[in-house]
């Protein structure tokens, strides 16, 4: 007897939906919403790194671009919530076109070039006051409303994030099982062979960057409403590195892994917040230890364990039901 | 000299060798033939310590090699020329040879042997300062042999030395093997070209899916119907 593959996902979704019904604490809801936003980021990264093998450290920059565009539109022009999210995504996607010349770089070169892009975007955010408010940050982002109804309450905003996360998840799932997804994993495994099969590398990679940037931009837009104050120091290249950790920690290439990874990376420092000076040491050690899980990631380990449990369970049931058969 | 008893090796869940027995006497050349994935390379890797056996023993001159690291096994005079030449691409020809004589037992006479290598392969002397990676396939094969000479083997493990080589280069390789034999080196030879391997050797083993299915004098094997059918076949074009 085998577990239907969609079942764990469905259970996880139900649990996520139910969280605000059980946990009313504003702090935890706030942090969980942040984790949902991070999960959207991690999904975009999974497309890049897990599927296409593109080690991009530019996702933090797109996140920042999305956040600032959405935040500025909302604060200065009163553009409605969903439109600003879309605008954040589109702006990030448009900015990703700047990367087209460097998509042909590989491995470390790509990583470092995109890191450079992150650094440049951070400097622009920091220095171009007329555009971003500069080092003093962007303040007074209004509370989000949907169709005239405020969705700023911690629980409602959480659900809004969750809905968007689910949409992004389904989209990524479909992409991964499509012709485009197959082309990306072909590129990931052997570029020359992919070209020999008629796959246009620069074109496919640029599209991949574009989709990932769009996702990061949308996540940035959500973050703008979540924090309602944007500061350049939230969008340094550290952000990009953190996003990369999320994608790997849960299980490289796995979409559920990205979501779990995001929760781990966001929640762990929160859980450790009271451990004071030891906090980051414990976090660093945890990252190292989790890396020992190999490409299974947390999700892989968990499903192995679950499969074992499930196997135990079904064999136990077989054992229990035996006497009845004998009857 | 070399005695292998009931040797098994697996790569994770894949069993590559399933209990093979094999012996090689001093000074002898023994061939190992078999189809793709039969476990020929794995046998050599197990002897030189690159993969750990999951069962059985490997004895060399009365000492068991199980559990020794490759670098320790080299010290005992077992030199493995692996599949695909594996020369160091960003070291010069001379540095590659230098590395060949890295083990303590080989380090002493390395100047003299290097001259022998250059005498046997004058082409390598011409290319002394060139990076290994920029050599042509044939030159790389010569370098791989030269590197093995530097290590001064008593037992030489050769894995498909003719792979991907032009026919005329294969003849060079045969001469190099003859050179080793003249020095009294014992050779265990793996070749896809079964006819070539059996012509060069005194005895042969036929491997299939990780097991020895036949062993005999090479002269006998070469005419054995089973070997004939699987590895030799009609030689419709050999005559000119």
């Amino acid at each position: 007897m085998k577990m239907p593959p969609a079942l764990p996902r469905l259970i996880a979704l139900l649990i996520l939906v139910a969280v605000p019904l059980v946990e009313h604490n504003a702090y935890w809801l706030h942090v969980f919403s942040l984790a949902l936003i991070a999960a959207i980021l991690a999904l975009g990264m999974q497309l890049l790194l897990g599927m296409a093998g593109l080690l991009s450290l530019g996702q933090g920059a797109f996140y920042g671009i999305g956040a600032y565009v959405a935040g500025a539109l909302a604060a200065n022009y009163g553009v409605p919530f969903l439109l600003t999210l879309l605008a954040g995504g589109l702006a990030a996607a448009a900015a990703s076109l700047l990367l087209v010349p460097i998509v042909r770089l590989k491995g470390t070169s790509l990583a470092v070039a995109t890191l450079g892009f992150s650094i440049i975007v951070h400097l622009v955010i920091l220095n171009e006051e007329w555009l971003t408010g500069g080092s003093l940050g962007l303040m007074d982002i209004p509370k989000p409303t949907l169709f005239g109804v405020s969705v700023a309450d911690d629980d409602v905003f959480y659900w809004v994030c969750l809905v968007i996360l689910v949409l992004v998840f389904v989209a990524m799932d479909r992409i991964s099982k499509s012709r485009f997804g197959r082309a990306l994993s072909a590129i990931c495994q052997d570029e020359e062979a992919a070209r020999a099969s008629g796959i246009r590398l620069a074109w496919s990679k640029s599209k991949c960057f574009l989709v990932a940037a769009f996702t990061a931009g949308v996540a940035g837009g959500l973050f703008a409403y979540h924090s309602r104050y944007l500061s350049p120091s939230d969008f340094t290249f550290n952000e990009s590195i953190e996003i990369m950790i999320m994608a790997v920690i849960g299980g490289l290439g796995s979409l559920s892994g990205a979501v779990v990874g995001a929760f781990v990376v966001v929640l762990m420092p929160e859980v450790l917040r009271s451990s004071g000076e030891l906090r980051m040491i414990l976090f660093g050690l945890a990252v190292i230890l989790l890396m020992a899980a190999g490409n299974l990631g947390i999700v892989g380990l968990a499903s192995l364990a679950a499969a074992k449990l499930f196997g135990l369970f079904s064999s136990a049931r077989a054992w229990v039901s035996k006497p009845r058969e004998a009857n | 000299m070399l005695r292998i008893n009931n040797l098994s090796v697996s790569y994770g869940p894949v069993a590559a060798l399933r209990g093979i027995d094999l012996t090689v006497e001093a000074g002898e050349t023994v061939a190992l033939v078999g189809s793709n994935g039969a476990g020929k390379s794995t046998t050599l890797k197990a002897i030189s310590g690159l993969v750990p056996p999951s069962g059985g023993t490997i004895e060399f001159l009365g000492e068991t090699l199980n559990g020794l690291k490759p670098e320790a096994i080299v010290e005992r005079g077992i030199v493995h020329v692996p599949e695909g030449r594996r020369i160091f691409p960003r070291l010069s020809v001379e540095q590659n040879l230098e590395v060949g004589a890295y083990s303590a037992r080989a380090a002493m006479r390395r100047r003299r042997i290097r001259e022998e290598v250059y005498a046997l392969f004058p082409r390598l002397r011409e290319r002394r300062q060139q990076m290994g990676g920029s050599l042509s396939g044939g030159e790389q094969q010569m370098l791989a042999f030269g590197r093995a000479m530097m290590a001064q083997p008593t037992l030489l493990l050769l894995d498909e030395p003719s792979l991907g080589l032009a026919p005329i280069i294969v003849e060079e390789v045969i001469r190099a093997i003859a050179h080793f034999r003249a020095e009294g080196v014992t050779i265990l030879l793996v070749e896809q070209n079964a006819e070539l391997a059996l012509t060069l050797s005194a005895r042969g083993y036929v491997l299939e899916t990780g097991q020895v299915v036949l062993t005999d004098e090479s002269q006998t094997l070469i005419t054995h119907p089973k070997v004939w059918a699987s590895y030799l076949g009609e030689k419709e074009l050999e005559d000119t």
């Binding site: 604490n25 702090y27 080092s135 003093l136 303040m139 924090s227 917040r273 009271s274 906090r279 | -």
Partner: protein
């Protein structure tokens, strides 16, 4: 909620680049609370301090504030150090209606956004700078052309904007505006341009780490301009790192052992702090010490563990702080005089005592 302790949340950078300042904050708070608890606590209960690390980042400051308020259910909060972190957290304080006393964020914005829940221990940068400008005008009437070097973040930027505004009053001209990024190590490019600018004096808005390097490189390229600096260098570490290169620097500050000699609260604070930690307190420690003192006074005055009552009580607190008689204005900023210190042969001295030059 009926707790058996009075919970106060204290947040700030315990890790990250600004960890040193967070440490001063924590030490000062610990000192005050230990004393108070030993004396019987507040409202008949012990004070419980709950610390949260925000690593100096706004995003984490928001998380910390939310956590302190809704998970730990603190009565009020103290923090953070940097302006962006304090500002970000103050949005939470306002939304969830919890009193907050900012320890060291000097950006004017923090208290001018109409947020009645936020107070701060230091004076805002605008006041600090205006006082410094008055000081320069009074003591060095000949200086008219200034070079301004600042760290490109909220702190340096705030100082620069304030100087532009305050200097206009005396017709000051800025002949060089130079900035650098947090964490930069090499300032020779900026200093060389300042050297060439023909300024009468240099104003520098740095924190002490960069400030010490600026001072050294200032000496190395042979600059001799008079130098005025921000409260960011108001710590003994500045002199330790800068060595004799910082001699002659005049800086504005909220607190300096050299200028508070006649304030009794300051004397006892310095002694106690030295006894407890073996070092002289810096301005951050003094600001944090005052903040926690205000908090305790406010809570006592409110007489009950009620956030709204505490807020109203805080607004009316008056006491003798380590920096003199303390009282909030209507925005929540303290009405304090600022200090100017001159470093003389590795020692802090009160610059207001130096004679007028002309």
């Amino acid at each position: 909620a009926l707790a058996d302790t009075v919970k106060i949340g204290v947040f700030g950078p315990m890790t990250g680049d600004a960890a040193a300042m967070g440490q001063s904050e924590k030490e000062a708070v610990d000192l005050a609370v230990k004393e108070k608890n030993a004396a019987g606590g507040l409202l008949g209960k012990q004070i419980e301090i709950i610390y949260a690390d925000d690593a100096g980042k706004p995003e984490e400051a928001v998380n910390s504030a939310k956590r302190l308020i809704s998970k730990d259910e603190v009565l009020m909060m103290i923090g953070s150090i940097s302006s962006p972190a304090s500002l970000a957290a103050s949005q939470v304080a306002r939304q969830m209606e919890v009193p907050q006393i900012v320890v060291a964020g000097t950006a004017q914005k923090i208290t001018t956004a109409g947020n009645k829940w936020v107070f701060r221990s230091p004076v805002p940068d605008t006041k600090l700078v205006a006082d410094l400008v008055d000081f320069i005008h009074e003591k060095f009437p000949n200086y008219k052309k200034f070079a301004f070097l600042y760290v490109n973040d909220d702190f340096g930027r705030g100082g620069f904007e304030a100087f532009k505004k305050a200097g206009a009053k005396y017709g000051y001209e800025i002949v060089a505006e130079e900035r650098y990024a947090r964490g930069d190590l090499d300032f020779t490019a900026q200093l060389n341009r300042i050297k060439a600018s023909g300024a009468d004096a240099m104003i520098e808005w740095s924190r002490y780490t960069e400030g010490a390097l600026v001072a050294k490189q200032f000496a190395q390229i042979g600059l001799t301009l008079p130098r005025f600096a921000s409260d960011g260098v108001a710590t003994p570490k500045f002199i330790e790192l800068g060595g004799n290169a910082v001699d002659g620097v005049m800086f504005t500050t909220h607190f300096s052992p050299a200028t508070v000699a006649d304030i009794p609260a300051a004397k006892s604070f310095i002694d106690k702090y030295k006894a407890a930690y073996g070092r002289t307190p810096d301005a951050y420690a003094a600001e944090a010490y005052d903040a926690i003192t205000i908090a305790m006074l406010g809570i006592e005055k409110a007489g009950k563990a009620d956030r709204a009552a505490v807020r109203d009580a805080l607004a009316k607190v008056e006491f003798g702080s380590t920096r003199g008689a303390f009282k909030f204005d209507e925005k929540g900023d303290p009405l304090l005089v600022t200090h100017v210190v001159k470093i003389d042969a590795g020692k802090e001295t009160n610059a207001r005592n130096i004679p007028v030059q002309n």
